[in-house]
């Protein structure tokens, strides 16, 4: 009896580790295959079409490479991290299912396949949030997220099917090219539906709460969620970029993204748990990505979703590092000497020029200037912190900013240009818009936001603290709803 029990226990454990190992190897193989193909065939990637159901192009391969990378890293991590977890096999299965649905999504040309894979993606993610089925709050969080995802699929279906039935085209490529023949009202309604689907997925305000309530998922699932799921909006909007241009909804996107980016960035400042802080940061970054779409730079949005994925996956997987013994600190006084201000300005402009030269953004008077402005402020901000630091020597102060911004901008430009080349055969993904008053206004709002943050003015507004605290609370029922005994 004893032995028997032990051996079944053992075989159960080995089963789980074998399944997890095979799944992990499979994902790494997928990733290497994709990457290898991308590298060897770059930049001449032929579009491949199969009966109007599947379509594979440079963009497909790019997203495949990205998502398999994240899944492979996450499953390697989870193989060890979840050892002994009752639902480890289930976890690996869901990860695999999720990865395959994303891959299907970006290769689907038929609308039904697109809708189904979008739905599957959401269902797998919701299941991951509630994977611990003995935990009532996790179940609530999972149901809550699932409601959002179902709503997202509903809106996506409404938008896409409206176009499909009106144009009688059932492939994405078909209905995109048939847009010209459709009435403006239909185009607008469809675009609005698709935008709603996208911003639910990306947790834009006011649809942000599901993401802030999703911490019941095991850490590696969160990494996958923040690196490979929320940015689904970027993919969706890119696929439908032509529709967005046709419906004149880019400004709407720009405003939604912009507001969310600012609110979420402030909300992040008052979070007291690591994962919620990361979630607020994700919402802000997704806001920025959607702004990039709204500026007509879908390629920049795709580059951003990949780079943000790296960043956020890393931070989630290392989320256990936040324990530290420290002393209360008073906020530093912000003072800047004229010479320092000059250096900051100088490097800021230099950064902007380099960025414009390498990426081509901001060389003409169009919406690209907005992105260049952000680079300039970032470089200025970095320079400011460096020149102010007393432990650095003069030489270090002179060299460090240029080393940082040249390497940062250089590597970004490399990736941005690579993404642009891979997306070259897609219609309407790099169409800088005319500079509008709204963009200029947001540019100013960002600058104001920058100064408000820099000077710490926000800290003097208590009601704002409470409001932001409350809008960033997780779903009520996902906290302390049950008692266990």
């Amino acid at each position: 009896m004893n032995l028997e029990n032990n051996s079944t226990e053992k075989s159960k454990q080995t089963q789980s580790s074998i399944f997890s190992k095979i799944a992990t190897l499979f994902l790494w193989a997928l990733f290497s295959g994709n990457l290898g193909y991308l590298i060897t065939h770059f930049p001449n990637i032929q579009e491949w079409d199969w009966h109007g159901i599947f379509r594979i192009n440079g963009f497909t391969l790019l997203i495949w490479t990205t998502v398999t990378f994240f899944s492979a890293v996450v499953s390697s991590y989870a193989g060890n991290y979840l050892k002994g977890f009752r639902y480890q096999n289930g976890f690996m299965g869901l990860c695999l299912g999720f990865t395959i649905s994303v891959m299907l999504l970006v290769m689907s040309n038929h609308v039904l396949l697109l809708l189904l894979s979008w739905l599957a993606m959401g269902l797998f993610m919701a299941r991951l949030i509630g994977i611990d089925s003995d935990w009532g709050e996790a179940g609530e969080a999972s149901k809550f997220a699932q409601k959002y995802f179902m709503a997202g699929t509903f809106f996506l279906s409404a938008g896409v099917l409206l176009l499909a039935f009106k144009s009688n085209e059932f492939t994405i490529s078909g209905l995109i090219s048939a847009l010209n023949g459709l009435p403006q009202s239909i185009i607008f309604i469809a675009a609005a539906c698709i935008i709603i689907a996208a911003i639910i997925q990306s947790a834009m305000y006011p649809f942000h709460r599901w993401l802030l309530s999703a911490m019941t998922a095991p850490t590696p699932a969160s990494a996958l969620m923040h690196a490979g799921f929320v940015n689904g909006a970027g993919i969706l909007l890119t696929l439908f970029s032509t529709l967005l241009f046709a419906s004149n909804t880019l400004t709407l996107l720009f405003i939604i993204g912009g507001f969310t980016a600012i609110i979420a960035q402030f909300t992040k400042l008052l979070q007291v748990t690591v994962k919620q802080k990361l979630a607020c940061s994700t919402i802000a970054q997704m806001g920025f990505m959607i702004m990039q779409c709204g500026l007509g730079f879908f390629n920049a949005a795709v580059a951003h979703l990949i780079l943000h994925g790296f960043y956020k996956a890393y931070l989630f997987l290392s989320a256990g590092e936040g324990i530290e013994n420290s002393k209360p600190q008073k906020p530093l006084q912000i003072r800047i000497r004229p010479l320092q201000a000059f250096v900051v300005l100088f490097f800021g402009i230099l950064g902007a020029v380099l960025f414009a030269l390498l990426t081509g953004k901001g060389t003409a008077v169009d919406s690209g200037i907005f992105l260049t402005l952000i680079v300039a402020i970032t470089v200025g901000q970095a320079t400011y912190n460096i020149v102010k630091e007393q432990s650095l020597s003069i030489l270090q102060k002179a060299l460090l900013p240029s080393i940082l911004f040249i390497s940062g901008i250089g590597i970004y430009a490399l990736i941005y240009n690579g993404v642009t080349v891979l997306m070259a055969d897609m219609p309407m993904v790099v169409v800088p818009l005319q500079l509008t008053a709204i963009q200029i206004m947001f540019g100013i709002v960002f600058l104001i936001g920058f100064f408000i943050m820099k000077l710490g003015i926000y800290q003097r507004v208590p009601w704002l603290y409470v409001k932001l605290l409350n809008i960033s609370r997780p779903y009520k029922k996902s906290i302390l709803l049950y008692k266990y005994k």
Partner: protein, 798 residues
């Protein structure tokens, strides 16, 4: 000011809840420490009732213990019979198994949720850049000023709220008869025990955060009860369930049988060896080296492996090496406790420059500053608008590469990040000072105190004949991405690594003036060629790092040999611990560096016994890391005063550790930390589960269980085993009411091997009675079931 009876009621009610320690100094304490003066059974039942916690091992643990024959059938049958139960053990086991976990709605869900929100915001220790406004005015006042903005509360005007916490409390309580007050307090303090415990901790520790942002239980209750009244939450528990479930009686019987079986095994295993007892350690030839390690259960294995590698002697001593000190960290200047939390710090140890290392020190400091700047810089870039967006784009690729390296090649990633660079131990040396001395001015302490510190180390361990090299080996753990890292450090040092205590004691013992004083005053002669060295046992990799920068040339050759043997010991110790033969050291290192590792090492799991006796009694015996070992030689202890010291200090520390492991195991959600995989670090000092809720107060599942189902730690109350005359122990217990009460109330057990009565073993019963029937019933199972270390040795030779 709050009026007195109210305060008394609050304090009484708060006894129910233990202290929650911050994870950067995670002390494994007894969550029921407020009830140590009442019997274990009564205490756990109270907590069971008020906190809704599980207080006994669950059926699945008993099933595993039963099937692995860890519970002796005879002992169990006897105990069942005594309680009038006549069915078979299997029958009772099934009865316990029929009891399932129930999940019911929390009737004060909204109240708990709102309180968790405000507590987490207020108690944050710097995770949030934008801290809660008005925080420095205290919890009640800060909340009072913000409450009007909180739409959930529906409080419209600040005037509706009393000016102080005590006014608010008084106003609410006047609607209730005074005899109900304590029930109200108990009910509400037990609702979020983790947060309540952290308020208790902050107040007692009076940390920097507390001084700046005070919070008291009165404040907490004032806010909580005010909100409760406002949102019409329950003020008192609906039903007052007092009935004791028959199942829990059964669980207690099984627990006792399991404990008794364990004691029998220990006694059997120790008495097998007692034949060789005569040759105690101080009579043979002087060994090549002696090592004094912490009493920690993890020292047991490494000591065995060191001893088997050469002519070495090892000793067990409390890992703070008897120096009740605080330690000032060189890198951040922060002072933290480095002695047991039950002892108040008399000394402060700081780092001073070793001669000729000025340049190295300034290099170290510069590096440190650059590191600090880097952290600050990254934080600013990530937080600021809009640089956060630009930063992500510019550094994203870097994170991508790090992600890949850290997942696939953790060792390489670690080296790349330069975390292997030498630390300050070889540049600086520790210097002892009084605890309350001013910064930057070292006055030092008088010679007689220095001498006393050194002497008591020898007195308590029984170390008498000195080898040329004597090592004081502290211990620390090394893991990455682990919020519970400090729970793996030295429990005797308030969850700090014990290396600095070890270095300090070695330095003191090397001082010529101390040696002269020892000889003049105590007739204790340390040979001139004996040199003391501080070291650290890395419990994750079993590496022993020797801080050897001051070892004279004359000892270098000897030291080299010891190092070679320590390396061999590391190999065999890791082989035994990890159950592998090949590359065990590499595997242990990987566990230390892998960011996906939730069980880098087992810490003190499996602890169940504390043996206070000469090493000879336990030598060559594999105790499987289940025992704390304190060296003690009753013949050198003239009147039992050393033993009294051991019982007052180390024994209480081991009891805390043991109780903590017990409760974290029996209810990992309530008393422990839950599963690591869904933890969420809060406020830089603790974890919550998932989206938030109560602060977790104890060890996570991964520290006490091998998998969600499979047990690792055995939740057994500590059995203390002493070799000394029973008469001495009786006297000590009479003098120390608190120790006697721990025994009488069954928080721990005591077994004594009396050398004055032919080493007969007796077991302490209530009220100074002794039971002689230990170890007689046939033990059904040997002490351990792993491959003995010797076999592994042979394998590794091949």
């Amino acid at each position: 000011m709050i009026h007195e009876p109210l305060q008394k009621n609050i304090d009484n009610a708060a006894k129910l809840v233990g202290k929650t320690w911050p994870l950067y100094a995670f002390v494994t304490s007894n969550p029921l420490s407020g009830y140590e003066d009442i019997p274990f059974e009564k205490a756990v039942r109270r907590v069971e009732k008020h906190m809704g916690a599980r207080v006994f091992p669950g059926a699945s643990l008993y099933r595993q213990a039963w099937e692995q024959k860890e519970i002796d059938e005879n002992e169990l049958l006897t105990l069942l019979e005594e309680n009038g139960m006549s069915e078979s053990p299997e029958w009772y086991l099934r009865q316990m198994e029929s009891q399932k976990t129930v999940m019911e709605k929390n009737i004060n869900h909204d109240l708990d949720r709102i309180m968790a929100k405000w507590l987490a915001a207020f108690m944050d220790e710097g995770l949030a850049e934008w801290e809660m406004p008005y925080k420095n005015e205290g919890f009640y006042n800060a909340w009072r000023k913000l409450a009007i903005y909180d739409g959930e509360l529906g409080i419209n005007s600040r005037k509706d709220l009393p000016k102080s916490g005590s006014d608010a409390l008084a106003e609410i309580l006047k609607e209730y008869p005074e005899k109900e007050h304590i029930s109200i307090f108990t009910y509400h303090l037990a609702a979020l025990p983790g947060w309540t415990g952290y308020i208790k901790y902050r107040k007692e520790a009076n940390s920097f955060w507390h001084m700046e942002y005070p919070i008291t239980l009165e404040d907490y209750l004032a806010v909580r009860l005010w909100i409760a009244k406002h949102i019409k939450a329950e003020m008192l528990p609906k039903t007052d369930k007092t009935e004791i479930l028959p199942i829990s009686n059964l669980q207690l019987i099984w627990l006792k049988a399991w404990e008794k079986s364990w004691q029998n095994r220990l006694v059997n295993s120790l008495t097998q060896k007692s034949m060789t007892l005569e040759a105690s350690e101080n009579e043979g030839p002087v060994p090549d080296a002696q090592m004094v390690l912490c009493i920690d259960t993890r020292s047991e294995a490494i000591r065995r492996h060191i001893e088997s590698k050469g002519n070495y002697e090892t000793y067990g001593y409390a890992g703070f090496f008897g120096i009740a000190m605080d330690y000032q960290n060189l890198s951040d200047g922060l002072i933290r406790k480095s002695c047991p939390p039950i002892v108040s710090s008399t000394y402060k140890v700081v780092e001073i420059l070793q001669k000729g290392n000025l340049e190295k020190l300034s290099k170290y400091k510069r590096k440190n500053e650059v590191l600090k700047f880097r952290q600050y810089f990254l934080k600013r870039m990530k937080n600021m608008l809009p640089s956060a967006f630009g930063y992500v784009e510019g550094s994203g690729a870097h994170y991508g590469i790090s992600l890949l390296l850290r997942t696939l090649l953790p060792g390489y990633f670690h080296r790349l990040n330069g975390k292997n660079t030498p630390s300050h131990e070889n540049i600086c040396e520790p210097e002892i000072d009084t605890a309350n001395s001013k910064e930057d001015l070292i006055v030092g302490i008088p010679l007689n105190e220095k001498t006393a510190l050194v002497k008591s180390a020898f007195d308590l361990t029984g170390l008498k004949h000195f080898a040329p090299l004597v090592f004081f080996v502290g211990h620390g753990s090394h893991s990455t991405n682990n919020p519970f890292g400090s729970s793996l450090d030295c429990g005797a040092c308030a969850a700090s690594p014990g290396r600095h205590n070890a270095r300090m004691l070695a330095k003191l013992a090397n001082l010529p003036e101390v040696r002269i004083a020892l000889e003049d005053n105590f007739d204790l002669k340390i040979p001139a060629d004996t040199f003391f060295i501080g070291a650290e046992h890395n419990t994750t990799t079993d590496e022993i790092v020797v801080f050897a920068s001051k070892v004279p040339d004359s000892h270098q050759e000897r030291l080299q040999k010891v190092r070679t043997d320590l390396f061999k010991a590391q190999r065999t110790a890791t082989q035994e611990r990890l159950g592998v033969v090949k590359d065990s050291v590499a595997m242990a290192r990987k566990k230390a560096l892998d960011w996906a590792e939730t069980r880098p090492e087992w810490g003190l799991a499996k602890n169940a016994g504390f043996i206070i006796a000469p090493r000879a009694l336990t030598k060559n015996r594999n105790l499987d890391g289940q025992c704390f070992l304190h060296s003690y030689n009753w013949e050198m202890d003239k009147n039992g005063s050393a033993l009294e010291g051991i019982l007052q200090g180390p024994m209480v520390v081991t009891q805390w550790i043991n109780n903590h492991y017990y409760f974290s195991t029996v209810d990992t959600e309530k008393f422990g930390g839950g599963s690591k995989i869904t933890q969420n670090v809060t406020g830089k000092f603790g974890v919550v589960q998932g989206n938030g809720g109560d602060l977790k107060m104890g060890l996570p599942l991964q520290s006490v269980k091998e998998s969600d189902e499979k047990m690792y730690h055995r939740p057994l109350r500590l059995s203390v085993f002493i070799q000394a005359p029973v008469a001495w122990i009786e006297e000590i217990l009479l003098r120390n009411e608190n120790l006697k009460s721990l025994l009488d109330n069954e928080w721990i057990y005591l077994l004594v091997m009396d050398p004055t009565e032919e080493n007969r073993i007796t077991r302490y019963q209530k009220d100074m009675k002794w039971d002689r029937s230990v170890g007689r019933t046939g033990s059904s199972k040997d002490f351990i079931d792993k491959v003995p270390a010797e076999d592994l040795n042979e394998l590794s030779m091949v």
